[in-house]
């Protein structure tokens, strides 16, 4: 195997690990109370907290946390796999692939289950609102 092929394997292993890191952060921040960046659409402001006090969205914060986690895992994997041989890189691709597949499928299934059974609380109607 030439150097270019070994480098491609290392890069693929790092990407597979980054996907696993992203999925792990997404899952953990969903099941464990985690401080996140929340956006308050009515007040048009951001806040960093575990539970918001008014109508707010955690999606920006959760995606940001997951992207940052994936980026950190990618950087660490690139450093750790710098001198790894092709066989070890191949094994890392396999392991990371299994972990990322399990985490992605489990997270999607968990969200589907939880949201299917969620009872939503409507936001108060704005003053003077006339329903159509």
């Amino acid at each position: 195997m030439d150097d270019a092929a070994a480098a491609r394997l290392r890069l693929s292993a790092a990407w597979a690990l980054a996907v696993a890191g992203y999925a792990l952060a997404f899952l953990v921040s969903s099941v464990v109370p985690t401080p996140l960046v929340w956006y308050f659409p009515l007040e048009r402001r951001f806040s960093f907290e575990v539970r918001p006090s008014a109508l707010a969205m955690d999606f920006y914060g959760r995606v940001l946390l997951s992207v940052l986690s994936g980026a950190v895992v990618f950087a660490l994997a690139r450093l750790a796999l710098r001198r790894t041989g092709p066989e070890a890189s191949r094994q890392w691709v396999r392991r990371a692939l299994a972990w990322s597949a399990a985490l992605l499928v489990f997270s999607a299934g968990l969200y589907a289950f939880v949201l299917w059974h969620r009872a939503v609380t409507p936001a108060p109607l704005p003053e003077g609102y006339v329903p159509r």
Binding site: Y22, P41, Y60, P122
Partner: protein, 145 residues
């Protein structure tokens, strides 16, 4: 912006379906399709990030004016389906970005391990896109303002 989001999503649906089919044919040994797989991987990554970013921009308006005021009150199932859609889309994002970088230098004959990873990422990305688009159509078909 919602129309632009929908148009980019249509391009994404086409590119990801082609990529998944090309990936399956490559898996079966049709090696002449490697260049096409590389191109579709780039298009899928670009359109996924574009559609996702546009979705993020229109989300605050939806969160209050559509979901908060209407869906949560009259069609709670649509609120839940929309949240499923956004979270499934977020779980497709890392694979779509990885496809861009892995797909650029894909050589299925020389790197079967990388190709397996590429093919699975393509299929997962396609699944998330298919769910996102179908549920998005269902949610937007609900009577609203």
């Amino acid at each position: 912006m919602l129309v632009l989001h929908a148009l980019v999503s249509v391009a994404l649906a086409g590119a990801s379906t082609h990529l998944a089919l090309v990936g399956l044919r490559l898996w079966r040994g049709e090696r002449g399709l490697t260049r096409l797989a590389r191109i579709y991987a780039q298009v899928v990554a670009a359109t996924f990030v574009g559609a996702f970013a546009l979705g993020l921009l229109i989300y605050p308006t939806f969160r209050y004016h559509v979901r908060g005021v209407f869906f949560d009150r009259h069609e709670p199932w649509a609120s839940n389906l929309f949240d499923m859609k956004e979270n499934v889309a977020a779980l497709g994002l890392p694979c779509a970005i990885a496809l861009f970088f892995i797909g650029r230098r894909l050589e299925p004959d020389r790197d079967p391990e990388i190709f397996r990873w590429f093919a699975l990422a393509s299929v997962w990305t396609w699944l998330t896109i298919a769910f996102t688009i179908v549920s998005g159509l269902v949610v937007t078909s609900v009577k609203s303002f």
